[in-house]
Symmetry: C2
Subunit: 358 residues, 2 copies
């Protein structure tokens, strides 16, 4: 366990949860579900039984450094790696890998977004442990393992992982046949019936050498940038080096840049009550509902309203009447009322609203 590292990716700005999640305090720092803990806090605690506290790294935007330390006071500030700008997941993961390399050459790493929901933490820890065990075997040192979630509905909001055979049991590592993009409903329905498809959770397990080799092979533009500062990682000059050079990395995801190209990809089927809570709709699926199937947070009186999400911050009172399958959310100085079916466009509307301000 002393070689286990956890990289928490916490740089998102969460605009799909506007206005509750905003650039100033995005989703990972909020207790959207009302569990009493922010997403990043829950994520940290979920990994604590399998990763020592000093082996956590949080990669985030520089502006969130203080927020991270406030939510995870167990970390020292050198465990918070600050990106000067957003560059997608591949440069984020590479940065953390080079930082770990400055301390040890022998590490098993789990990489996870800061803002997922897991309801069965014991099963989660069993799966992560199985993944660590797999990659730490010498013959698997180049394996790139993705947690694959057993699908329970024809979800069109997730990417899928195809396995060679149907019915691979939970916790048993298998080769990846292919990664697929988010499907349309027809395809998602086929995937669900087919039995060979898993949801791509975006949670990865690999060794330090495995991911460095893969980055070097598939995105050498990134390793070239970091190689120039190889001796600087872990030193007092690391942040200055990152500030100067991070922007030279291409903006590319680890999925597109590495996983879809590598021959060493594996998946481990799992079922631990997972959601990426990427949208108000997925929150709705997981939240407690009232008798009319509404998910309500805050002081709201609902009249003749069904199948809706109402989320108003403390100190605000609301009357909501006559809605069906809608979202009503108020936070800070911002209000949204929209149809849940159209929530994928929230990001776009917020961008338009912000553009009008300038």
């Amino acid at each position: 366990m002393q070689n286990n590292y956890c990289i928490i990716m916490a740089g998102g700005i969460g605009s799909r949860f506007w206005p509750v999640s905003k650039t100033e305090c995005p989703k990972q720092f909020i207790d959207i579900l009302g569990t009493g803990k922010s997403f990043i806090r829950s994520t940290f605690e979920r990994f604590l039984p399998v990763v020592p506290p000093q082996n956590f790294l949080v990669v985030t935007n520089a502006m969130y450094k203080d927020l991270v330390l406030r939510h995870l006071p167990e970390l020292n500030e050198r465990q918070v790696l600050c990106e000067p700008m957003r560059r997608n997941t591949a440069p984020c993961i590479a940065y953390a890998a080079y930082h770990i390399l400055s301390k040890t050459a022998d590490a098993n790493i789990v990489v996870a977004p800061a803002d997922h929901l897991v309801t069965n933490e014991t099963e989660f820890q069993r799966i992560i442990t199985a993944g660590f065990n797999f990659v730490s075997q010498p013959e698997n040192s180049n394996a790139l393992l993705t947690i694959g979630i057993k699908p329970s509905r024809p979800e069109t909001g997730y990417g899928y992982i195809q396995t060679p055979d149907a019915g691979c049991p939970n916790g048993q590592v298998t080769k990846v046949a292919s990664f697929t993009e988010k499907p349309n409903l027809e395809k998602a329905t086929q995937f669900l019936q087919n039995g060979r498809y898993l949801w791509n959770s975006g949670i990865f397990i690999w060794t330090l050498q495995g991911i460095l080799n893969a980055l070097n092979t598939h995105i050498p533009q990134i390793t070239a940038v970091f190689d120039t500062g190889k001796n600087i990682f872990g030193s007092a000059d690391e942040q200055a080096f990152i500030n100067q050079n991070f922007g030279s990395c291409p903006d590319i995801s680890i999925d597109y840049g590495v996983m879809e190209k590598s021959p060493h990809t594996y998946t481990i089927p799992a079922d631990f009550g997972w959601s990426d809570i990427g949208t108000w709709g997925s929150l709705f699926v997981h939240a407690a509902k009232d008798n009319a199937n509404n998910a309500v947070k805050g002081n709201a009186m609902l009249v003749n309203t069904q199948n809706s999400v109402v989320n108003v911050e403390n100190g605000v009172e609301a009357i909501v009447q006559g809605l069906d399958q809608c979202l009503v959310a108020f936070s800070g100085n911002s209000l949204i009322v929209c149809r849940l079916a159209d929530e994928q466009k929230i990001k776009e509307w917020v961008a338009q609203l912000n553009a009008k301000k300038q």
Copy 2:
């Protein structure tokens, strides 16, 4: 003109415009239409050409005294009559009449709510002047005159005045055949076609003696209360007397208590762009609309939304999507989203919400 008095009734709590209008600052003190002036300010200015400033009286709740003086700095504080509790329009009008009686026995009085909209002020002043001229003729000293508005639609939110004949011209006083309650849509449609019906504006013109006689005849319980303090009105003890005795008055409207019973009722047909702006829907009728027939006030971005009212206070930004014939309003710490068709229930919902607080 020196005998003309104006009583502005400004004691309402405007809960039908919740949350923009609240008990702390009700509708009459708000610029809901965005004209640049509050309703009470507009009402005052509308009467100024026909009533000297020292002859205005505003009757309101004690808690609104400072608000009245802030909106009407031309008045001195003895022109603001404070009711210790709400007792409907008859006691309100009686209080003001006794106050005027302490100064003069010879007054023509116009009584108007503080929160109506008039778009043609010149025509308004012509009608009020015609009304003053009528009641100031000695043979009409007991006449009780109501401004009757030529109806333009089968409105179910107003009471109606039936006249003896159809087609009475604007500005010409005629007897009232009967007052009617708010009709249903079928009846309102008949009224509109019939040509003998006018909307009851709630604006009254009479002489001081005329209204005192009528109150004495039809609601002697009220004049009995005020007669006990006849010598106190206009003195430094008036407020103390009112505070002690006002609560003994029955809670009764001038319409029900006097107008529906008196044989001396008259009306003067008028058409000066009037609305009582009693509801969000009537505001909608009078507000400027965007291309999708929405009335929008504040920083709101509307997407695929039609025939709706969106009203958010300064400093709040809103995204509203996918609504039709709805109201979205935010003010203070309160939000409402509802169907405009159901807005008559807002009062009731607000009462329920407030009951939950206790």
